[in-house]
Symmetry: C2
Subunit: 271 residues, 2 copies
């Protein structure tokens, strides 16, 4: 599969990269179809926020240009973009003259069963909790051991995703998805100021749902509220929206608002 | 400088390594002198604990053997050992057939000023706090953005290290050191069950200080207790022990217990 480093075809990088040493970097996982990256502006917006918060000295115009060229070469698939602080000497101090490394890796579109989207999914109740770290919350950075440990908790394919809570017990997200509740015609999704990844499909929904007559509230979600929801769904930028049918001993129908959003957002990924 | 991957001389690794993608791995930073890794048993013990908790399928005998050969080739310096879960496909799920990658990188012994050890150091009060994540606490894993952010807070060389607290305000450690207080002839160091790195020099002190007539208590440390300490010092496996002379608006003398431990432990690194 296609693999570029700093704009050139390459499959290997320096073992002294700080992305490896410390997870000192960011990534985006981007659906590419017909040679174009989908939800491009939102991916770049999140990346820009990460670049700002981690103080990575890189031109986002250069990153965008490389991503567009890579996507054209890929055609159809998934582009994983990583930015790292490049090679470093030993020690945590960021180098004053850091040269950010850009890595682009292609992979096939994941073969999720159609029934995830059509009939909904069952969530595994992950025991691994998300730590509260406001400095990193919301970012898609390269420190992802919590997700690795959570995803390692189950291998039964009956569970398409896992439910992640924070160390205080609040409902936050899936392992690789964001989560929404529907209650009384309103959407509710977790505040991601202490932990969690602010997904680009979540951002898309926050913008578009109100225009479709569904107000959205972003706030903390107690575990009990999950059970009281009328509908529950997951979203991410690769699969769009999956209804949640069961989690933590509770079951929900696939509801009308979930279906409406699926219909509206489908063209973002498929067209 | 010397660089080995999987036992062979090599400077680059696959861009699809999970150490890069997720920080899915561990590391040790080891003082090598006269061709031998210092505090070897303690480094291997911590690595073994990490391998167990992250479920990394690797033979520690193989790792030890490579480290010994690498150290012999290096002679004098620092060996950084990284273990990663090897190459992965997209997605957090650990591969059932993971092949752990072993990376060994040499670097020179850091040129810390002698006065750090002799006269003591000043700590920068880091605003970055450590998140509480019991699943990862104590391990020297590859998710180190908290340390990168903390170390980026200061560039004034008057501060040799930084003081890190957890999100609840407890005193935990330095950015690349563990911290001890002395009070009434007793050593106190932070419990590392929620966050922090359980350093090998800390482990050495926990074992040896009682034999030298200094009992050690491991427990939570309030910020106020730091100011009430008779002596404060830092330790790690590269520099040994540094007295702390000032931190957070408070000053301490270089005390007798700190000096005694410095004398006793010096041969561990220098001999």
């Amino acid at each position: 599969m296609l693999s570029w480093i700093d704009g050139q075809s390459a499959e290997a990088l320096s073992a002294r990269d700080r992305g490896l040493a410390y997870g000192d970097g960011l990534f985006e996982t981007i659906r590419v179809s017909a040679g174009r990256p989908r939800l491009l502006a939102r991916h770049l917006a999140r990346l820009g926020e990460g670049v700002r918060r981690l103080c990575l000295p890189v031109s986002l115009d250069l990153v965008e240009d490389e991503l567009l060229r890579f996507s054209a070469a890929l055609g159809d698939g998934v582009a994983k973009l990583m930015l790292t602080r490049g090679d470093g000497a030993r020690g945590y101090a960021p180098q004053a003259d850091a040269r950010v490394r850009r890595v682009l890796l292609a992979s096939p579109v994941p073969a999720y069963p159609d029934k995830n989207r059509e009939e909904g999914v069952k969530l595994f109740p992950c025991a691994s909790r998300l730590a509260e770290q406001p400095l990193l919350a919301g970012l898609k950075h390269l420190n992802r051991l919590e997700q690795v440990l959570a995803r390692a908790e189950w291998s039964d394919p009956a569970f398409a995703e896992g439910l992640m809570r924070d160390v205080s017990g609040r409902v936050i997200e899936g392992v690789f998805s964001n989560l929404f509740l529907v209650r009384g015609g309103q959407l509710i999704t977790a505040e991601l100021t202490r932990c969690g990844v602010a997904g680009v499909m979540r951002a898309e929904l926050l913008d578009r749902a109100p225009e479709l007559g569904m107000p959205v509230i972003v706030r903390d979600i107690d575990f009990a509220e999950l059970q009281q929801a009328d509908e529950v769904f997951l979203c991410n930028s690769l699969y769009g929206i999956w209804p949640v049918r069961s989690a933590a001993g509770h079951a929900w129908p696939v509801g009308p608002l979930t279906r409406k959003l699926q219909g509206q957002l489908r063209e973002l990924l498929d067209s």
